[in-house]
């Protein structure tokens, strides 16, 4: 009698029960996969900002523009190391108006400030030398099938061209990734000049400045030094760490997010609880059978292993399939969640999910099995 044979028999004994347990686990982990990926994509932005990147924006409101002259004025501040600037383009694709995160940036300095961007040097040069070209993130390149050299047309829900043309045409000069493969690459970078020359209004303004501060200045000292420079001007500024800014954003996502998170995690736990209980009951039903196996010479350890293997099969197979479904759901959602960007399932999420599955399998099999394995064979055999 091989282990595989025994396992097959175990699984075939209560086909419906096994199928139902698998369905529950499948459902639970598809929810887990979607939800964790969303959370991870939110915090991925924050995590990479462990570096001291800072933002300077209008004190009035982050949507209020700043004069482009602030770029050179900021560069002259002693605490400031490398500085660049960006402007929200409000880009969208096609008649469905699918939003794409598009920034008009200062091309010479932007990638120096965002040094976690990975891209071949010749693509950067090609981009910098052609103001009608863009860099696109790997995520968008894959999703929309863009290759280097492709022509793309974007609409803007923010800017109107002076020539009244409603679409903006660009060449894809390069495709970039991030150093940490789990970080989202949903961005399109175009030349600030391309936007500034074509737009009908708000010429020579930028959205915000982004810079690295010098090591010998703290973030706080840098922020007040920068804001002091522009104090009492028409456009006063507010300078904060990019990390802090993103945290504000996430916090503001609001309590709706918190309610949804609470309800879903409670539900995830409960579905698993019901399944775990069913499994534990199924193991306890085998009191007599385990006693017989021990009587004919099975080692207790092998019995535990068999049950653990059974639990692994019932939990890991549908669990992994559930993560698969989660990927499909995440793909289908697209830019539904807007500025949060798309979420893809990172390796970290998958690893965590599998860890949960293994621990769960252990808890529902070995723990109840241990209880019946400790009984004296005679007692177990006489149990109902």
């Amino acid at each position: 009698m091989t282990h595989a044979y025994l396992l097959r028999k175990y699984l075939a004994r209560h086909k419906l029960r096994v199928a139902m347990m698998m369905l529950s686990v499948f459902a639970a982990f598809s929810i887990y996969g979607v939800f964790q990926s969303l959370l991870a994509s939110l915090s991925s932005g924050v995590r990479i900002e462990g570096s001291e990147r800072m933002l300077t924006m209008s004190r009035q409101s982050m949507t209020h523009p700043l004069p482009v002259a602030y770029f050179s004025r900021l560069a002259a501040v002693p605490a400031v190391d490398i500085v660049s600037h960006a402007t929200w383009f409000g880009g969208f694709l096609g008649t469905q108006r699918t939003l794409v995160a598009t920034y008009a940036v200062e091309p010479e300095s932007y990638l120096k400030v965002y040094s976690n961007v990975v891209i071949p040097a010749e693509q950067v040069e090609a981009w910098q030398s052609d103001r009608r070209s863009v860099l696109v993130g790997e995520f968008y390149a894959k999703r929309y099938g863009w290759k280097v050299g492709d022509q793309i047309a974007l609409g803007s829900n923010l800017w109107v061209r002076a020539d009244r043309d409603s679409s903006w045409h660009f060449t894809v000069a390069g495709i970039f990734r991030h150093q940490d493969a789990d970080d989202e690459t949903n961005a399109i970078l175009l030349h600030y000049d391309a936007l500034n020359e074509a737009r009908a209004f708000a010429r020579d303004t930028i959205g915000w400045l982004v810079f690295l501060h010098r090591k010998d200045y703290t973030a706080d000292a840098t922020a007040s030094a920068v804001d002091q420079v522009f104090r009492n001007s028409a456009d006063e500024t507010r300078t904060i760490l990019e990390r802090a800014f993103l945290e504000t954003f996430i916090e503001q996502l609001g309590e709706v997010g918190a309610i949804v998170a609470a309800v879903l995690s409670a539900a995830f736990i409960m579905v698993l609880m019901v399944t775990a209980n069913t499994f534990a009951v199924a193991i306890r039903e085998r009191v007599r059978e385990v006693a017989v196996m021990r009587a004919i010479g099975f080692q207790v350890r092998r019995i535990y292993l068999l049950m653990f293997a059974e639990a692994l099969l019932i939990i890991v197979i549908p669990g992994v399939a559930g993560l698969g479904l989660a990927t499909v759901i995440l793909n289908g959602m697209g830019e539904l969640i807007g500025f949060l960007g798309p979420a893809t399932m990172g390796l970290r999420t998958i690893a965590e999910a599998i860890a949960i599955m293994v621990v769960l399998a252990f808890l529902v099999s070995v723990v109840p099995a241990w209880q019946i394995g400790r009984m004296r064979i005679v007692d177990a055999l006489s149990r109902a």
């Binding site: 347990m21 409101s61 982050m62 009244r164 507010r238 879903l264 539900a267």
Partner: protein
């Protein structure tokens, strides 16, 4: 099948249920989870709809810059506002066309120590604009023309404890006095701060640019007529739409998260929970197989045993549904909450609304869970043969 024997049967089932509290609890829990998740999703969506989708007046047309998806990313200069005064179909009185040019911008407001800043939208309106909107002051007074005074919407006021009537608020580089609270039938306008248009424009250095223009239309006149006129007017880069349609679109963008994510997940969860309920019921039935076999030998029919099992499953699911609904009702109903709008990048405040109609849907859902989770165990329950069961011992 007599009613009496059916009741006897149910009694036996219930007595056994009592002796297996864990299995009963699992069945109840499964149904409660499904109902709670559905009720939460529906209540949040209903809250958003109440606040956003119902906003706007049928006789008001909203004009924004071509391509703008929300007031926050629209811009209309002073010259265009003057041209819009001549739009056809607009109501006029002795002071001219009844239009309201409006400033709209998202303000970052500090919440005090340790807390993150909030993005709250601010609207600047003139006297005519106030008359165009259906608002009333519920606390304090209206702002005075020409002064840096603010009134705050009721929903926002109840959410942000640090903004008090009589207090000061720092916006940009100037201080503003909060002088009153206004109500607007619980709509999205109550998420906003309002002030005098001219003051806002000058303190924020916007010259005479506004974000949108609202036109009060004569009866029978609509946005289509305004758009036809705009096409013949080359100086304008704008488009018109009816105010309710604008707000309905905003609501859709907010609820898309719930529709696109909440419901698929709730559905998956329901499938998982039904599977759990089925397993619990199945376990319960198997543990009672000797009783079923005995009952059958006493002459209870197949059908009677089956029906009583399904009824038991439905009763358990129903208890679960009531539990799930009550938890959500107590925990969520009326709780003020807010959500960051994708379109305007600002907080939309609304009250989660656990409506009584959801109770009916919860009960329906419970009965469905009961049937789905009970039928197969019921078929099993009627199959046990007495001889086999007794011989098993």
């Amino acid at each position: 099948m007599t009613l009496k024997s059916f009741i006897t049967l149910l009694e036996i089932q219930i007595r056994h249920l009592m002796s297996q509290p864990v299995l009963a609890a699992l069945s109840i829990l499964s149904a409660a989870v499904v109902v709670a998740v559905f009720v939460a999703a529906m209540s949040i969506a209903a809250g958003i709809d109440n606040a956003v989708a119902r906003a706007g007046a049928l006789d008001v047309v909203l004009v924004m810059r071509t391509g703008a998806t929300a007031e926050a990313n629209s811009q209309i200069n002073g010259a265009s506002v003057e041209i819009l005064r001549g739009a056809p179909g607009v109501l006029r009185d002795k002071d001219g066309a009844m239009i309201s040019p409006e400033f709209y911008s998202v303000m970052e407001i500090e919440q005090g120590s340790g807390k993150k800043a909030l993005n709250i939208p601010m609207r600047g309106v003139d006297a005519r604009g106030i008359a165009l909107h259906d608002i009333r002051i519920v606390e304090g007074r209206m702002f005075e023309t020409g002064r840096a005074e603010i009134i705050i919407g009721q929903l926002a006021h109840s959410r942000y404890a640090h903004i008090k009537v009589g207090g000061k608020l720092r916006l940009g580089s100037s201080d503003w006095q909060v002088v009153g609270v206004f109500a607007s039938n619980g709509t999205v306008e109550e998420s906003e701060l309002w002030s005098d248009l001219r003051v806002v424009q000058s303190l924020f250095g916007r010259n005479n640019t506004v974000q949108s223009v609202r036109l009060l239309m004569e009866e029978g006149q609509d946005a289509a007529g305004v758009n036809r006129w705009i096409e013949t007017e080359p100086r304008l880069t704008a488009f018109a739409q009816s105010e309710p349609i604008y707000y309905a679109r905003q609501a859709r963008s907010l609820t898309s998260l719930i529709n696109g994510l909440g419901y698929p997940l709730a559905f998956m969860l329901a499938a998982g929970a039904v599977a759990g309920a089925l397993n619990s019921m199945q376990a319960a039935v198997i543990s009672r197989r000797r009783i079923f076999a005995t009952l059958r030998s006493f002459g209870y029919s197949h059908r009677l045993v089956m029906v009583s099992t399904v009824v038991e499953a439905m009763v358990l699911a129903l208890i679960g549904a009531l539990l799930g609904f009550s938890l959500m009702y107590v925990g969520l109903d009326g709780s003020g909450t807010s959500m960051l709008s994708n379109e305007t990048n600002s907080q939309v405040v609304f009250a989660v609304s656990v409506e009584s109609r959801f109770l009916k849907q919860s009960i329906f859902l419970a009965l469905l869970i009961g049937i789905l989770g009970g039928v197969w165990p019921a078929i099993q329950s009627a199959r046990f043969a007495l001889r086999a069961e007794l011989a098993d011992r």
